[in-house]
C-alpha cells in the first residue's frame, strides 16, 4: 500500500503546484506509432508546452501492435489517448463508431481551412464518408511508399559497365516498374566487395498489413481499382482486371527473382535491416524513414538516394500517413483541440518538416525552396500527387486480413494463380460487405 500512498501524495502535490501556476493546465496524452517521426514530434511539442502551459505525454506503440492496441483502446472506450494520430484506414470506423470527434465546427471557429492542406491528404486522412466535407482529423503526417538505393553502387563504373553489357541500357533511377525489376535482377546474386548482394527488399509480411502495402505498390501503377464505380462495392472486373492480374504476377516475379533469401515475412524493420546490412541494392519503405536513412552514418549521406514508386501504366503510390484526431472519450477535449490549433499554424508546420515530420500544409509544400530542402523532398511531392489508399471502411481490418491471406498464399506460399487469388479475394470481400449490409 505504501506505493499507492506515495503515488497519491505526489499526484496531489503536482496537482497543487500546477493549480498554483496556471489555472487550466492539463496533462495531454498523444498516441502514435513508435518510429522516427514520433521522436521528432516530441521535440516539436516542447514549444506547445511552453506556450500553452499544458503538459504533453506520449504513448508510442510499435508498428506491429499499433493497430491492435489502439483499436482495442478505442473499442473499450479507453481514456488513454486524448489525441490520436491514427492510421488513415481507421477513419471510417473512427467516425461511424463515434471514436473521433467531428472537427468541422472547431475548424470554422479556429479559422483552420482544409483548403490550406494538400487535397490528397485531406481526402485520405480527414474525410468520412470519403471526399465529403466532414472532417474527423487534421492531416498530420503525409506519407507514401517509396524506394531508396545504394547510390555508391549505382555510380561505380564497373557496375555501370556490367549493367550496360547485360541489358544494353544505362544504370539509373528506374522510370518504370519493369525497369526496376530489371535492375533488381541485375544485382541479384552479384558479388560486390566480396559479398553476395541481392536486388531489393520488398514488403512480404503476413501478420499485419505488410504484403498488402507492398503488392498495392505494384497494383496501383498498373491501374488497379477497388470498385468499378466508387461507392458501389461492385468489384468483379475491377479487383480481378487483367491489369491487376499482371501486376500481381509482376510482384511475385519480383519476389522470386530479385529479393534476398529469407525475406519472406518482412516489413518496415526487415527492409531497413536488409539495406543497412548491405544485402540489397534497393529497398522499398515509407518516406517517413528517409530522413533517418539519410542521416545514418554507415549507409546514409553520399551512399544513398531516393526515388518515387515508378509508374507503369500510370503513376501510383501506396498511401501511408496519418491525420491527428481528438478522441471522443477524452475528458480534455478542449486542451486537445488547442494542440491541433497550434499544430495547424504554418510556422509550426514548417518547423515540423525541418525536424523530420512530413507536413501536409500547402505553405510548406508550395514553398519554392521545399523541393531542394532534402534529397527526398521533391520525390515526396511527386509521390503525393498520385497516392491511393486501401479501403477505409469501418470493416477495413476484415478486408485487409483477407487480402493479406490471399496475396501471401499466392506470392510467398506459391499457391494457385494470380487470377484465382484475386477471385477469392472478391469472394472474401463480398462476404464482408454482405455482413456489413452494404451489399
Amino acid at each position: 500500500m505504501k506505493r499507492f500512498n506515495l503515488a497519491t501524495a505526489s499526484a496531489l502535490s503536482i496537482a497543487a503546484a500546477s493549480v498554483a501556476s496556471t489555472a487550466s493546465a492539463d496533462d495531454l496524452t498523444l498516441c502514435w506509432a513508435a518510429w522516427d517521426p514520433a521522436n521528432a514530434l516530441v521535440e516539436l511539442s516542447k514549444e506547445f508546452e511552453a506556450e500553452s502551459g499544458h503538459n504533453m505525454n506520449f504513448e508510442f506503440i510499435p508498428w506491429p501492435n499499433f493497430a491492435d492496441r489502439m483499436l482495442n483502446e478505442l473499442n473499450s472506450g479507453g481514456k488513454l489517448c486524448d489525441l490520436l494520430i491514427g492510421d488513415s484506414q481507421w477513419i471510417g470506423g473512427g467516425a461511424e463508431n463515434g471514436h473521433y470527434v467531428k472537427l468541422n465546427d472547431f475548424f470554422d471557429s479556429a479559422g483552420i481551412s482544409m483548403d490550406d492542406f494538400a487535397p490528397a491528404t485531406v481526402y485520405a486522412y480527414s474525410t468520412w464518408p470519403k471526399g465529403s466535407p466532414n472532417y474527423y482529423a487534421l492531416p498530420a503526417m503525409g506519407d507514401a511508399n517509396g524506394w531508396f538505393y545504394r547510390k555508391d553502387w549505382f555510380e561505380r563504373e564497373d557496375i555501370q559497365a556490367a549493367y550496360k553489357e547485360a541489358t544494353g541500357e544505362d544504370l539509373r533511377e528506374p522510370e518504370s516498374q519493369k525497369e526496376m525489376l530489371q535492375i533488381a535482377q541485375f544485382f541479384q546474386g552479384r558479388e560486390i566487395d566480396g559479398k553476395t548482394v541481392y536486388g531489393a527488399s520488398i514488403f512480404t509480411e503476413r501478420g499485419s498489413e505488410g504484403i498488402t502495402m507492398g503488392v498495392t505498390s505494384a497494383l496501383y501503377p498498373w491501374g488497379f481499382k477497388y470498385e468499378n464505380t466508387p461507392g458501389s462495392y461492385d468489384m468483379e472486373g475491377a479487383v480481378n482486371s487483367p491489369e491487376a492480374v499482371e501486376a500481381l504476377e509482376f510482384y511475385k516475379e519480383f519476389y522470386q527473382t530479385a529479393t534476398p533469401p529469407g525475406y519472406t515475412n518482412s516489413y518496415m524493420g526487415e527492409s531497413l535491416d536488409a539495406f543497412k546490412s548491405g544485402q540489397v541494392a534497393m529497398a522499398m519503405n515509407w518516406f517517413a524513414f528517409f530522413p533517418g536513412l539519410y542521416a545514418d552514418p554507415n549507409t546514409g549521406g553520399d551512399k544513398i538516394d531516393f526515388f518515387v514508386n515508378p509508374p507503369q501504366n500510370q503513376a501510383g503510390s501506396t498511401l501511408g500517413g496519418q491525420g491527428i484526431s481528438v478522441v471522443s472519450y477524452s475528458d480534455k477535449q478542449d486542451a486537445a483541440l488547442e494542440y491541433i490549433k497550434w499544430f495547424a499554424q504554418p510556422e509550426v508546420q514548417a518547423k515540423w518538416w525541418s525536424v523530420g515530420g512530413y507536413s501536409a500544409h500547402n505553405s510548406v509544400l508550395n514553398d519554392p525552396g521545399f523541393a531542394d530542402s532534402a534529397p527526398f523532398a521533391g520525390d515526396f511531392l511527386v509521390a503525393m500527387e498520385a497516392v491511393q489508399d486501401f479501403w477505409q471502411e469501418p470493416a477495413y481490418a476484415e478486408l485487409l486480413l483477407a487480402m493479406q491471406k490471399r496475396v501471401h498464399d499466392y506470392v510467398v506460399a506459391d499457391q494457385g494463380t494470380a487470377k484465382e487469388a484475386l477471385d477469392l479475394l472478391i469472394e472474401d470481400w463480398t462476404e464482408v460487405f454482405e455482413d456489413e449490409g452494404k451489399l
Binding site: 516530441v42 472506450g77 535491416d273 546490412s277
Partner: protein
Amino acid sequence: MSAHSITEPSSRAKWVAGSLVILYALITMVPLAWIMMTGFKTPPDSISYPPKVIFEPSLEGYVNLFTTRTRVTPDALEALPPPATWYDEIVRERNMVIAGPSKFGERFLNSVIIGFGSTFLSVFLGTLAAYAFSRFKIPLADDLLFFILSTRMMPPIAVAIPIFLMYRNLGLSDTHLGMILLYTAVNISLAVWLLKGFIDEIPREYEEAALIDGYTRFQAFYKVVLPQAATGIASTAIFCLIFAWNEYAFSVLLTSATAQTAPPFIPTIIGVGGLDWPAVAAGATIFLLPVMIFTILLRKHLLRGITFGAVRK
C-alpha cells in the same frame, strides 16, 4: 564383485551418458548464448552480413534499452557541452542525444508486480483449498477437483472474448488488479492439484497432536501444516511464476499503458529505423534473470513439483 550395488551404472556408461548430456546442453545453449552476445553488440554488428561471432563488445544495447533518443544534426551536436557520462558518449557517437528514460523500467516493474502478485495469490488460495480438500470431508469433492482441473484445458483465447468484454465493463482493463486476478485464475488449478499432493503426505498425527494441545484449526494449519508444506509451496511457486512472468496473449489483449508487462514490449523495441536487436537482446537477458535466479535457488524442488508431488523423494 564391485563394492557398489549392482544397479549402479558402470563408470564407462556414466562417462558416455555424461558426454551426451553435456553435448546436448551445449547445443541447446547456442541460441541462448547468441541472445546474450547480441546484447553486447552495436546495432550495425548485430545485423552484420554474414553474422559476426567475434566483435568488439559495447553497452549500446543496454543504453538503448533504458533510454529514448532523438537525432540531432552534427552541427547541433558540436554545439553541445561535452558528454557528461559514458552513456551520453555512446549515444552521441550515433549523432543522437538522450531524450529520456524508456518504458522498459515501467514494463519490467509491471511484470514484477503482476508476476509475483499473482504467484503469491495463486499459492495462497491454492494452499487453503488444497488443505481443505486434503483434510476435510467436502461434499462432491471429486467433482469439484475435476472441475478445477478442467479449467486448465481451456484455451485462453476461448475465454478471452468475454473476459475482454467483462473487463471493459468493470473497468479492469489495463489494471494491475485485473491481470493479477486473471493469471491467478489460470494458475490456481495447477496450484491446488500440486499442493494437495504435498499436503496429503504430511502425517495427520502432527495436527491432531496440536489440536489436543489446545491449538485451534487455524493455528494448527498455520503453525504445523504450513512449515511442513514449504517445499511444495516453493515448487508450486516456480511453475506459477514461469507462466505469469512470460504470458503474452492476455497481456497484449487486455493491457496498454498502465499495466502492460514486458513480454509484449521486448520484441518490439525500436531504434532509429527498425528493430534495435541489441536492445531487444539486452531486454530478453535482463528479463530472464529473475526467473532464472528464482529457479536456481529452488531447483531441488523442481522435480517434485513438476509431477504433481507424485515423486516422494
